[in-house]
Amino acid sequence: MVHNRTFFSHIAYRITAFVNLACLMLYCVKNSLEKTVSEYLLLLLGTALVNNVVLVKFLGLCPFMGVSNKLDTALGMGMATTFVLTLAAIASWMIEHFILAPFHIEFLRILAFILVIAAVVQFTEMVVHKTSPVLYQILGIFLPLITTNCAVLGVALLNVQAQYGFMQSMIFGFGSAVGFTLVMVLFAGLRERLALMSVPALFAGTPIAFITAGILSLAFMGFAGLYK
C-alpha cells in the first residue's frame, strides 16, 4: 500500500504532463475547430468505451495479456502506450496530409506510419529508461514491442480510413489509448486477485486469464449502441 500511494502521485504527475501537452496541441489548432466540444467528448467516450480497441476491436492483445499481471506495470504500460498512440495519431495525420496525399504516394502509407511509430516508441523508451529505471526493467521487452502493437498501427490506419480531421484523429488516438489503459488496469486488478486464489491446476495461470478476458469483453458489449 505504501508504494502504490507514491505511484498514485506518480500517475498524477504523468496525467498533468499529458493534459498540458493536449492543451498545447488544442491551442495551436483551435482555429481549425469546426465541431463543438461535446462532439469530441462523445467521440472520446465512444472510442474508449463503446468500440474499445482491445475488447471490441480485439487490437493490441499481446501486451494486454503479457503485461497485465501486476497493477503498477499495467499502469506503466498503459501510460507508455497512451504517449505513443497520441503522438503517432498526430504524426500519421500530418504525414498523410502533408506528404502522402500531395505526392499521391498513398501506397507507402503503412511503411511511413511504421517508420514514425518506431521513432516515437524509441523516444518513449529513452524517456521511460531515464525517468523510472524500475519500470523500464519490469516492462522489459514489452516496451520496444509497442512498435508492433497492432492497436497503434491500427488506430493510425483507422484515422485515415475514417477521414478524420486533425482534431478528430488526435481525439480518436487518445480515446483508444485511454480505453486501452482502462482495460489494462481493470484486467491487471482482476489478475492480481486471481494470483492469490487457489484456481484448479487445469485452469491456473493463462487459461483462467483468457476466460476472464472473455467475460470482460462480454461485459463491454453492454456499451454497444451507445455511440454509432
Binding site: M1, V2, H3, A195, L196
Partner: protein, 498 residues
C-alpha cells in the same frame, strides 16, 4: 448485529465485536481467599517481557514468603519472589504455561505450610519518598502488568517520568468475556487501587489520572467513584462496552482523543496506561513492601462446577486450581489461560499460574468456536470488526500464498491479534493464527538475516587472517631463501679464499 448506537455516541470507536459476556456467574461472588496452600509451587524465572531473572538461591535453601528468589537482569526485566515459605527443592527446566509447553527454567518450592512472611518494614508516609524511589521499590517488588502483557511496571514508571506524560490512564475495561477479576478487585479493594494510583502519580510526577471502566460494570464504577471522591485529579469515566475496549490505544483514543502513532509508544502522546490490578499491587508493594506473590484469577467456563475469582499464590499448578473448583475433566475440550479472545490454549493442566494469567478457562465443546473451516466468501465481516482498520481477509490471503512482505505492505505490523476477526468469521478461518504465523516467520527471517550478516563478517575475518598468515609465511620463506643464498655465497667466498 453491531449496536449502532455506540458507534454514533463515541465517533472515535471503530470495529470491535459484541461478544456475550458469560460474566454473570463469577461477577456476583466475592473474591475467594480460602485456597489451600499447594504442596509444591513451580515459579518460572521468566514471567515478564524482557530478560529472564537470575536465581540467587540454591537447591536446599529455606526461604520465607516474599523472599527474593531471582534478581532482574538488564534494563527490561523483573525479579521473582517466593510465593510461600518452604524449601527450594529444584531449579530446573519445567513445562511453561504456553501453547507449546516447552521447558523454561523454574524454581520449585516445597511449602512447609507455615506461609510465613519475610519481615518487612511498612513506611508511614510514602509520599515523602522521592519519585525515583517509588519506581525502585515497584521494580524490587517484581510488579509487572497484570492485564496480560506482563511488561515490567518499573520501566514504564521511569519512562513516564522521563517523557513527562500528562495523564496516567488506568484500564478497568476488562473487555474479555468470562473474566471478572478486575471487576471484583474494583468492587472490593477500590481504596487500595486509588492509593496505588496516587503513588504512581507521585512516582511519575503527573497531575491527573483517568480510570476507564466499561459501562457493563456499574457496581465497580460506583465503588471507584466514591473511593476517588476526595481526589479531584483522579477522574472515573465510563466507556462503552465493546471488545476490545481494553486495548490501550483504543482507550487512549476514546478518553484523550489522541492517536498513538504507528510503531510509537503511548508515551509519545503523553499517556501511560496501567491495569487496575497493577495499581493495587503497587499499593501493597509501597505501603507494606509486599512483593507480587499472589494474584486474583478468574476460573470459569462451561466445564467448571464452581466458577469463582480466587486469590492464588504465583506458581500454583492449574490442575490443583481445577481440583479446588471441581472442574469436569472429561467435558473440558480446551484450557485457555487469559481471556477467550486473546488467551493461549494450553495443551494440559500441569502448568503453573504466572503473574500474567488473569483467567484460567475450561471450555466445553459448545463454547469453543467450531473449527471446521470453509472457504472465505469475502463477506468482509472481519474488515468491519477490525479495530485497527486492517483487511484481515486480504492479509490472510497473501500469507496463505507465502507473500509475507505483501501482507506487511497492507498493515500486518499494526495487527494487535485481538481475535475480533476470527470471532466474527462465518467460515471459521483461523485468521489470527495466520497473522501470528506470519509475524513469527518474519521474525525468524530477520534472525536468519542477522545470523548470515554475522557469519559473513566471521568469514571475511578468517579469510583476512588466512591471507595474512600466508603472506607472513611467504616473507619467512623469502627471508630463509635469501639467508640460504647468503650463506652459500659466503661459503663459496671462503672456498675461494682457502
Amino acid at each position: 448485529m453491531l449496536n449502532l448506537s455506540s458507534l454514533f455516541k463515541g465517533p472515535r470507536i471503530r470495529g470491535g465485536v459484541h461478544a456475550e459476556e458469560h460474566k454473570a456467574d463469577t461477577s456476583c461472588k466475592p473474591i475467594a481467599v480460602d485456597f489451600p496452600l499447594p504442596k509444591k509451587l513451580y515459579i518460572p524465572l521468566q514471567q515478564h517481557v524482557g530478560k529472564a531473572a537470575e536465581p540467587v538461591v540454591r537447591v536446599g535453601d529455606h526461604v520465607l514468603k516474599g523472599q527474593l528468589l531471582a534478581h532482574s537482569q538488564g534494563m527490561v526485566s523483573a525479579p521473582v519472589h517466593a510465593s510461600s515459605s518452604g524449601v527450594i527443592v529444584d531449579i530446573n527446566d519445567y513445562p511453561a504455561p504456553h501453547p507449546s509447553a516447552l521447558p523454561i527454567r523454574t524454581v520449585v518450592v516445597e511449602t512447609d505450610g507455615k506461609d510465613q512472611w519475610i519481615e518487612y518494614s511498612s513506611i508511614d508516609d510514602p509520599f515523602q519518598l522521592a519519585p525515583e524511589e517509588i519506581s525502585l521499590r515497584v521494580g524490587a517488588a517484581g510488579i509487572v502488568g497484570l492485564g496480560g502483557a506482563a511488561f515490567p511496571s518499573a520501566v514504564k514508571l521511569n519512562l513516564g517520568r522521563e517523557s513527562k506524560i500528562h495523564t496516567l490512564l488506568i484500564n478497568g475495561g476488562e473487555c474479555e468475556p468470562y473474566l471478572t477479576c478486575d471487576d471484583r478487585l474494583m468492587q472490593e479493594r477500590a481504596l487500595g487501587i486509588i492509593d496505588g494510583i496516587r503513588l504512581m502519580l507521585h512516582g511519575m510526577e503527573t497531575e491527573q489520572a483517568i480510570i476507564g471502566i466499561e459501562d457493563n460494570k456499574p457496581e465497580a464504577y460506583a465503588a471507584m467513584l466514591d473511593a476517588a471522591g476526595p481526589y479531584p485529579f483522579i477522574k472515573v469515566q465510563q466507556v462503552p462496552t465493546r471488545y476490545p475496549m481494553g486495548w490501550d490505544r483504543q482507550l487512549i483514543r476514546y478518553l484523550t482523543g489522541r492517536e498513538v502513532p504507528a510503531g510509537g509508544r503511548s508515551a509519545d502522546v503523553g499517556v501511560i496506561m496501567h491495569n487496575v490490578g497493577t495499581a493495587y499491587s503497587v499499593h501493597r508493594a509501597i505501603r507494606f513492601s509486599q512483593p507480587l506473590v499472589s494474584r486474583v484469577v478468574t476460573v470459569s467456563g462451561g466445564a467448571v462446577a464452581l466458577p469463582m475469582n480466587i486469590e492464588v499464590p504465583i506458581g500454583t499448578l492449574i490442575s490443583e486450581l481445577f481440583a479446588f473448583c471441581r472442574v469436569n475433566q472429561a467435558a473440558t475440550k480446551r484450557i485457555v489461560m487469559g481471556g477467550p479472545m486473546m488467551g493461549d490454549a494450553l495443551p494440559h493442566s500441569r502448568l503453573p499460574v504466572v503473574k500474567a494469567s488473569s483467567g484460567i478457562l475450561a471450555l466445553t465443546q459448545e463454547e469453543i468456536r467450531n473449527t471446521t473451516q470453509q472457504p472465505c466468501i469475502r463477506c468482509a465481516q472481519c474488515v468491519s470488526a477490525c479495530p485497527a482498520g486492517l483487511l484481515p481477509l486480504d492479509m490472510a490471503n497473501r500469507i496463505r500464498n507465502n507473500q509475507l512482505d505483501a501482507a506487511v505492505d497492507i498493515g500486518l505490523r499494526d495487527c494487535i491479534s485481538c481475535g475480533s476477526c476470527s470471532y466474527v468469521c462465518p467460515s471459521n478461518i483461523p485468521l489470527v493464527q495466520y497473522f501470528k504465523y506470519a509475524t513469527g516467520e518474519l521474525a525468524a527471517r530477520q534472525q536468519a538475516q542477522h545470523k548470515s550478516e554475522h557469519t559473513k563478517r566471521l568469514m571475511d575475518e578468517r579469510n583476512e587472517r588466512m591471507a595474512r598468515i600466508k603472506k607472513l609465511q611467504q616473507e619467512e620463506e623469502q627471508a630463509r631463501l635469501a639467508a640460504k643464498a647468503e650463506r652459500e655465497r659466503l661459503q663459496t667466498e671462503q672456498g675461494t679464499l682457502a
